[in-house]
Amino acid sequence: MNDSLIQYTLHLADNSLILGQRNGEWCGHGPVLEQDIAITNISLDLIGQARNFYQYAARLINENATKVSPTGGDLERATEDTLAYLRKEREFKNLLLVEQPNGDWGQSILRQFFFSQFQYLLFEQLQNSKDEQIAAIAEKSLKEITYHLRWSSEWVIRLGDGTEESHKRMVKAVDELWRYTGEMFEGASYELRAASDGVGANLSTLEASWVDKVKDIFNEASLPIPEKVFMQTGGKEGRHTEHLGYILTELQYMQRAYPNSEW
């Protein structure tokens, strides 16, 4: 057992939780009812993925924990809830991309497309992970990600190749979000370790396929691929944009204000 597996599992969980929370902000605000339902359905899938990863991470943490707490009291056991609700901003390892604000519909769609395309390729590899539980979660999630990817790809094309206004907004969304895409392929130390253990994915092979797929969709959407943009990184190591703190304030409020409260 090594710490990098825990870190890696938390990273995968945090990505899904934070994007699930962001998409959930659209609930009741979608441009039309059917698409409101679509994006919140995607939220539910993502939060389900997060639960699976957090449950697994909690198991690993508890198995790994020392038997006696340093203060002699009862050891706090990790659960999916403590991991989602009680960790601090710096402890979250999600990509900067998923914490970016929703912006307009186009920006939320583009964020979903970038992430789903990445997740699709990532989980394709993780299905064959040496870690059985990671492999099982990836296999299960992949069917749903196929829906997310198809839905968001269609919307990128529809908006990019739509009206003058929708095209203009998509170009702006690309301009806003492209700088956060490089981070997906820059391995954090725990990712490199997980990859060399045969547990994690090989990020360098993912990058080429991701760029190819995005080029295909952008081509159809008549959107230009930006060139030589400085890439923002740090989320995987806990260095976030200012937006994550606000998300956690809302997401964790109930457990912070009323510890251990239950439905």
Binding site: L46, I47, E139, K143, Y147, E154
Partner: protein
């Protein structure tokens, strides 16, 4: 009935009385989410698999299984969730499909048609559960729950849910 005389078939029959909380005409056996039952004296392990990753019904189903089997005398019931192999609508029983149709939800088509990456594909031909017409169209591929898509019949004009292929 004592625990000694209870066989697997009886347990499956009891589990067949537990309905899915979101689609209450389907039992968890009809849905195909019970993968195995392991007996060891008065200890029992029920292995289930979720339909969708985020399905909120799973926690309730787990509790209901424990309560239901406690009435049979099993004091230690463990419900284990497994994710692999991933659940598919192919595991839904024919009986389950019939019950769905009667309830007004179109059952999943026998052949998986749209679980791929192809963009802007034509919507699946789905039969209206009310008037049996195939003259229907898809309104949204995401519906009231994760497992359903929304359709409308062009003949009887009724909207209906389609339990989409997965």
């Amino acid at each position: 009935m004592t625990i000694r005389t209870i066989d697997k078939k009886t347990i499956y029959a009891y589990l067949g009385e537990i309905n899915d909380p979101e689609v209450p005409v389907l039992s968890i056996i009809d849905l195909g989410i019970v993968r195995d039952v392991k007996m060891n004296g008065d200890e029992l392990e029920v292995i289930i698999t979720p339909t969708y990753t985020g399905c909120p019904a799973m926690d309730l189903i787990t509790t209901t299984i424990k309560i239901q089997l406690a009435t049979l005398g099993f004091k230690k019931v463990k419900v284990t969730q497994v994710l692999s192999p991933a659940w598919t609508t192919d595991w839904m029983s024919e009986e389950g499909k019939r019950k769905l149709r009667e309830y007004g939800i179109a059952p999943p088509n026998p052949k998986q048609q749209v679980c791929d990456q192809q963009l802007f594909a034509a919507a699946e031909a789905v039969q209206c559960p009310h008037c049996n017409s195939y003259h229907t169209h898809r309104i949204s591929e995401f519906g009231s729950t994760a497992c359903k898509a929304l359709y409308q019949c062009d003949d009887c004009k009724e909207p209906f849910d389609y339990f989409k292929c997965h």
